[in-house]
């Protein structure tokens, strides 16, 4: 396990180290200037937060339907990463907004629903930690509910117009801005996959440990 984890982590770390250099070479956006470069880390975190919520929701639905422990492990690992990438999104966004919009936070549909999604998955983790026996079924229901939020968050900026950029911004970027963005995205995605695999492995080992303890008690 550690043999795979370390090289992937090393490549991701190297990509993260090079990312600021690549981002610095990208041209400045005409109205926002330097602060717009937060976008190169904000966008990948946000997309991975949404992806992770879907992974957790699908894993939970699968667990509720089939009672497969591997589905629960996937859902749990993805829920923890939703909280991590959600935190990155919710911190980098206001830092960008403070300069670009003049305020740290705006209670618009996109920002409010993203915060809500993050809180749902924080609740999921709290339930898993303190909920006691049977909490995996309850938390699976919560994750499915969290996943249902994702399409609304995604389309919110197109339906309820605010000052948050629309989803059409990314595909229309010029090449010298889109190349560093996709590089950063690849670094984040690689890191996400590595962490998800390692986190699932941790749950697998925890269940093996529980099994061993039960065998000893018997």
């Amino acid at each position: 396990m550690r043999r795979m984890f370390l090289p992937a982590l090393f490549v991701a770390a190297a990509m993260f180290a090079f990312a600021p250099v690549y981002v610095a070479r990208a041209p400045f956006e005409s109205t926002m200037g330097l602060v717009q470069k937060i976008f190169y880390f904000h966008f990948p975190s946000a997309i991975l937060m949404l992806t992770s919520a879907i992974v957790s929701g699908v894993g939970s639905a699968w667990f509720l339907a089939r009672k497969r422990p591997s589905a629960d492990r996937l859902a749990f690992a993805a829920a923890e990463l939703t909280v991590l990438f959600g935190l990155l999104t919710l911190v980098t966004g206001p830092l960008w907004a403070r300069k670009a919009w003049g305020v740290w936070w705006q209670w618009d549909a996109r920002l409010t629903m993203s915060l809500l999604l993050w809180m749902i998955f924080v609740a999921y983790l709290l339930l898993r930690k303190y909920g006691g026996p049977g909490s995996e079924t309850l938390s699976a229901g919560l994750a499915v509910f969290g996943m249902a939020n994702v399409p609304f968050i995604y389309v919110s900026v197109n339906v309820w117009r605010t000052i948050h950029p629309k989803t059409t911004v990314v595909p229309t970027l010029p090449v010298d801005m889109s190349a560093p963005l996709w590089f950063c995205f690849a670094a984040f995605a690689l890191l996400y996959m590595t962490l998800l695999t390692a986190r699932m492995r941790l749950e697998e080992q925890r269940s093996q440990l529980e099994q061993l303890y039960l065998e000893i008690e018997d």
Binding site: M1, R2, L50, V91, K99, T167, L212
Partner: protein
């Protein structure tokens, strides 16, 4: 695990490129307002006088620190469980003998 990886890639592709189905037609943009003459930086509203570099550095540093902390915590948890598993396996092996 392979199925999870494939599903993950498809999901990302859908989120990134699926915007066209939801995009709404754009109204034609009017000409930008004309600025007459130069505006001294002191006359700008306070939000525009904020140094952008500080915010940018905080954002990038926060991402680095948060990821580093999470990797460290995961590594520590994995090490602890692996160690406990190893010890328990040795104990059960010794008992079996």
């Amino acid at each position: 695990m392979k199925a999870v990886h494939v599903a993950f890639v498809l999901l990302i592709a859908l989120l990134v490129f699926g915007h066209e189905g939801f995009a709404q037609p754009q109204p034609p943009a009017g000409p930008p307002p004309q600025i007459e003459g130069f505006v001294p930086v002191d006359s700008l509203p306070p939000a525009e006088q904020l140094p952008a570099a500080r915010l940018l550095i905080i954002a990038y540093a926060f991402v680095w620190v948060a990821i580093f902390f999470y990797v460290w915590s995961l590594w520590k948890r994995l090490g602890k469980v692996e160690g406990e598993l190893h010890q328990l396996a040795k104990r059960t092996g010794a008992n079996a003998r």
